[in-house]
Point group: C2
Chain length 171, copies 2
């Protein structure tokens, strides 16, 4: 009998989606090569002029996962300088983020439902309980930025389907 | 001491996001009125020619939430005919979906981590355990279609920000 927990409801979701997104970047690179354009063109694309560009979508998705684990577990995470300029560097950012979140023992994340988590924000810091932080801040933000990354590639002609978004599902 | 559960990790996420999306439709309607175009124009917009249109994004998001509760709890849900033709009808679809998922007692959803859930798919039915179904099928699909709904409105000039996506966060 398995039971949902703060670890099982966070880290496996992050690692799975970040892995899926690696496949999207592979397909984006192949598309650019087939169409003979520089793959770095993707990095500055936006869905609206006042939305954040592709690179930033990936950086924020990674930071949502990293900081969720850092704040819930109390374990320090890696520092990233947000200087990625190529698809390869973005792929490496996702890989390093997935490796970090997987490296933290589940026991340090489980049981943090009631832990006070303080988020720095432009409007001033906000403190939420661990469970609300995960469910209503981390997960919607993480999926928002992953989905927007996917949408930007689809909008720019990369042939992706829902199964690329979800990844392989096996019984 | 609160503990994450199959109910607490699903229904509150659905009701919150569906409520937030109601606000997006309100702002979309106000934008259409200010710019003097028929708000039903939004309903057929797509981010790519081979992506599903706005209306379908909302219908699928609603169905992901509804079927998650139906399949996990074993309680029958409402039937929708996918005939929405206006923002008001889409708003009502989201309201009715939220009302249904909230109506099912938490006890019928909690403890379903190991329950076999069978999903009908074009490629043939797939059976997953309840926890994997929620984490790797329902949540990514639900957020995918909610984020794409939001992205379509942003792409079409509606003034929304991340706080409209997340909704109010309070300690």
């Amino acid at each position: 009998m398995t039971t949902l927990s703060m670890h099982s409801a966070s880290v496996p979701i992050f690692t799975r989606m970040l892995g899926n997104a690696g496949t999207w970047l592979d397909k984006a690179q192949a598309h650019a090569e087939a169409k003979k354009f520089d793959p770095s063109v993707y990095l500055t694309t936006r869905l609206a002029p006042d939305m954040l560009p592709f690179t930033t979508q990936i950086q924020i998705a990674c930071d949502m996962a990293k900081f969720a684990v850092v704040r819930l577990s109390g374990v320090d995470g890696p520092t990233f300088d947000d200087t990625e300029k190529t698809l390869d560097e973005l792929r490496e950012r996702m890989r390093a983020t997935a490796a970090f979140v997987q490296s933290v023992p589940a026991a340090k994340i489980d049981g943090t439902e009631d832990k006070d988590i303080t988020i720095p924000r432009r409007a001033g810091p906000l403190t939420l309980k661990g469970e609300a932080y995960l469910k209503h801040f981390v997960l919607p933000n993480f999926y928002f930025h992953m989905t927007t990354t996917y949408a930007l590639l689809r909008h720019n002609g990369v042939e992706l389907g829902k199964m690329d978004f979800l990844g392989a599902l096996q019984a």
